[in-house]
């Protein structure tokens, strides 16, 4: 990534829109740092099995004798528990990296599905107008008027606990944000000449929608998408903390924090503290990147 940033300095001869976007993004050092942090986190999560000293899901590797060790102690298996261990003797560092994996997968996966559904409905609402529009937008209003946690609780209460149900709940909670965003942009874009031209060519509706209208609605969608990934990760952690999310054998960050809850009162802070820090860094990094994306992609702020 840093290569791309360097080559996009204004000294370059050809200025493509993408290069301009990259150089504008890189103007804000905080956002750039956040992006680097996020990429490191993502890489850690992807290559977790090769990095971590221990597979936290393999019960054979866990030794109950290593339970609740302080950060820095050397365990029975011979390596140092840099961030301590939890009550089952699980190395916290390994647990956190594996937990990041689940959190990122759930967050990004649900955001992607929600984006597909929301964007399609938003486009349809803007393009079809009339009754279709008002039905879809009433649904969006209804969804947005209820707090996300309540809607998620409702869905989990109907469907029961479990990771798949958490994803379904997240998708159902989030699609409305995408639908509203896309509809707003598409309403402006559909009056443009290129849409008229595409319609005059008698292109099929789905082609006009997805090949002509959608690409021009992308910038705000990307911004909302970034922010929603952070929200999804936070919400998944919250639901897992409440015991409604992932199973106890494969803990996500939220569940790791919940596991440490009872030990915290006796001063064993690290079981809850470090997963929380990991969660915090992830969410803040994504939000900072999203903030900068919004500034760069917002046409009203263009110089």
């Amino acid at each position: 990534m840093s290569d791309a940033v360097i080559s996009a300095k204004p000294t370059d001869k050809v200025e493509t829109p993408f290069r301009r976007f990259v150089s504008e993004f890189a103007e804000n050092k905080v956002a750039l740092g956040a992006l680097v942090v996020f990429i490191i986190i993502a890489l850690l999560a992807i290559f977790a099995p090769w990095i971590t000293p221990q597979n936290p899901y393999d019960l054979a590797e866990l030794d109950i004798m290593d339970g609740r060790m302080e950060p820095g102690t050397v365990g029975g298996a011979g390596f140092t528990f840099l961030l301590g261990t939890d009550d089952q003797g699980r190395d916290m560092l390994s647990g956190i990296i594996y937990g990041l994996r689940i959190s990122l997968t759930v967050g990004a996966g649900s955001a992607l599905v929600a984006c597909l559904i929301g964007a399609s409905l938003g486009l349809l609402a803007a393009y079809a107008g009339g009754r279709t529009d008002s039905v879809i937008m009433r649904l969006v209003d209804l969804q947005l008027s209820f707090p996300t946690i309540l809607a998620a609780l409702m869905i989990l209460a109907f469907l029961g606990k479990g990771i798949m149900n958490v994803v379904i709940a997240l998708v159902l909670v989030e699609w409305a944000y995408y639908a509203r965003t896309v509809r707003g942009t598409a309403l402006v874009e559909r009056r443009r000449e290129y849409i008229e031209a595409a319609q005059c060519l008698a292109l099929p509706t789905h082609r006009v929608l997805f090949c002509h209208l959608l690409p021009n609605c992308l910038p705000p969608l990307i911004v909302v998408g970034t922010m929603q990934v952070a929200r999804a990760i936070a919400l998944e952690a919250t639901l897992s903390f409440l015991g409604l999310g992932v199973p106890i054998t494969e803990p996500s960050l939220g569940l790791l924090i919940a596991n440490g809850y009872e030990y915290m009162l006796s001063g064993k802070y690290w079981i809850s503290f470090y997963p929380g820090i990991a969660l915090l860094i992830t969410i803040v990094a994504i939000n900072l990147v999203g903030d900068q994306l919004r500034d760069v992609l917002n046409p009203r702020l263009k110089k």
Partner: protein, 325 residues
Amino acid sequence: MTVYLVRRVLQALLVVLAMSLIVFIGVYAIGDPVEILISPDADQIERERAVQALGLDLPLWQQYAVFLTKALQGDLGRSFVYNEPALKLILQRMPATMELAFGATIFALIIGLPLGLYAGLRPDSRFSRIIMAGSILGFSLPTFWVGLMLIMVFAVYLGWLPSTGRGETGTLLGLRWSFLTWDGLRHLAMPALNLSLFKISLVIRLTRAGVRETMLMDYVKFARAKGLSPARVIFVHVFKNILIPVVTVVGLELGSTIAFSVVTESVFAWPGMGKLIIDSINVLDRPVIVAYLMMIVLIFIAINLIVDLTYSLLDPRVRLESKGT
């Protein structure tokens, strides 16, 4: 005004009806109603009797009608765990949650308004930048983790405040409240602060934006030109105008505060509705779940309605617009 009032109330009733339909479909169509409404310990004969008693052999729309009539009479089923009417359980826990939500709202206002005012008046000072960075953290930090850290710092290490529970309660209007005793207040402080974090950030941002916008208005310039003291200009002329959006948003947020208290109550073992619903979901005590959902939907819609009506009283433009259409 009357026409507006009637229309808003009718709209609210429609939303209640829609939500009851969603909850009904959720319980009766998606889940297996036998499993949901009849205790899992029941044997085959009991089951069949219950299916008939509950009218599960009727077509779905008739079942909905029965559900609705019973719900209107305040009958939302009995809890499997406590063997008491679900609605009664919820109502018993409600004061604790309300107390927490109001505490959080008060915190948000007494912390958020001054900080937001300062950041709006001196946008470039270092302290303002710290306030704004803090408000971003307030949006990003997961509530439950902040709650744990609060317990760790104030209860475990410093030992200033009790970690969990509601403490001693006093009685007012036949209900038990924590804010009436010193011990109760000490128990209330941390959960209320935890729940208010998000809203403090929100109030700071709203106030700051409002102050910056209002300070440029002609009437503020005029007030200053008249020779009024800066304090009077800020606290009477500016403050009154930024209060309208702040009050609206804080009012609207009350509903989501009550919903989000689920998390805070779980962290601090606060015996409110939120703790009850999480426990109920964990043991599949479905009648309580249904009762909670219907209750909170009702609270939510009532709050929306009240805020809308208050808003139209405060800001005459809203009323005029609705008359025009």
